[in-house]
């Protein structure tokens, strides 16, 4: 169980905040979001690698299933 708690800490330390409405960890500055399902199903190392990953200017969603363009648009709208 210690491993699970670490993931919360990793994300928090990297500036991510949990959104209750969307069940995602969000960093608006980095424009990245991790779904709770993705966090559950990936290791600490995989999550760290995604946090460090360089992405473009747009939002990057780390979901187990890639969201459709319309869902991405909706999420971008509400996440700001």
């Amino acid at each position: 169980m210690r491993r699970l708690a670490t993931k919360d800490q990793i994300l928090e330390d990297a500036g991510y905040r949990y959104s209750f409405d969307r069940a995602v960890y969000v960093n608006r500055h980095a424009r990245k979001a991790f779904s709770i399902e993705f966090v559950e199903d990936h290791t600490d190392e995989q999550i760290k690698a995604r946090i460090d990953e360089h992405t473009g200017n747009g939002w990057k969603f780390y979901f187990n299933s890639d969201p459709s363009d319309s869902v991405k648009c909706e999420l971008e709208r509400v996440l700001g």
Partner: protein
């Protein structure tokens, strides 16, 4: 996006009479099926049957989470605007639900066997993280639109869920995913372990007392 939710709210109230009929029939069937088992329990043992119709906002939230077979597929908890017309509460499997609580938990297997015999075609729906609990869903005679769900759960676990529900989810349905956060999973696991130890110790003492009385 609110349009999807408003349409689902209207659908909820159209389905409500069916939900009530299903829950009524299901509860009667479950009680009848488990009556022989219930009569055979010892004084310290319990079998409690509870039923409920899922609340409107909770139903909409469940559809947003797109839960199947214990897994959530609605990542981001967002209705897809391009599929707005495809969302229907009829896809939910637990609009009408009956829960059987058993103490001690070793009676779960027997209750499950009795009920599986009564509802053989119903589909198993594992509850993630709770291997001891059983759940399945299907249609009963009361409705062709609304499915019912039966859960068979160790009593202490079921009562813990009720505490969680009353304290957290009922006032704020959007917090339903809170306990999925890793740190909360750890705390939940600790609570469940404590309940299990409590029950094991209780059973041990009861058995010892029975031996002393002989």
């Amino acid at each position: 996006m609110a349009a999807v939710e408003d349409r689902l709210r209207a659908e909820y109230f159209e389905l409500l009479p069916d939900m009530r009929r299903v829950v009524e029939e299901l509860e009667a069937e479950v009680r009848h099926c488990l009556l022989p088992m219930s009569r055979g329990l010892e004084r310290h043992e319990q079998l409690v049957v509870k039923s409920r119709v899922k609340e409107c906002e909770s139903a909409i939230d469940a559809l947003r989470r797109d839960l199947h077979e214990g897994r959530t597929f609605g990542e981001g908890r967002t209705f897809d605007p391009e599929k707005a017309d495809s969302y229907t509460l009829k896809n939910l499997t637990d609009l009408a639900g009956v829960r059987v609580l058993l103490f001690p938990r070793n009676h779960v297997a027997q209750a499950n066997e009795e009920l599986r015999g009564r509802f053989p075609s119903w589909i198993l729906d594992p509850i993630r993280g709770y291997d001891e609990a059983k759940a399945y869903y299907g249609y009963c005679e009361a409705s062709e639109l609304v499915r019912g769900e039966i859960q068979i759960v160790p009593m202490l676990t079921g009562l813990f869920w009720e505490v969680e529900h009353a304290a957290i989810y009922k006032p704020s349905p959007r917090l339903v995913d809170l306990t999925r956060r890793p740190i909360m999973q750890q705390r939940v696991k600790e609570v469940l372990n404590a309940l299990e130890s409590f029950e094991d110790e209780f059973e041990k003492l009861i058995r010892a007392a029975e031996l002393n009385d002989r």
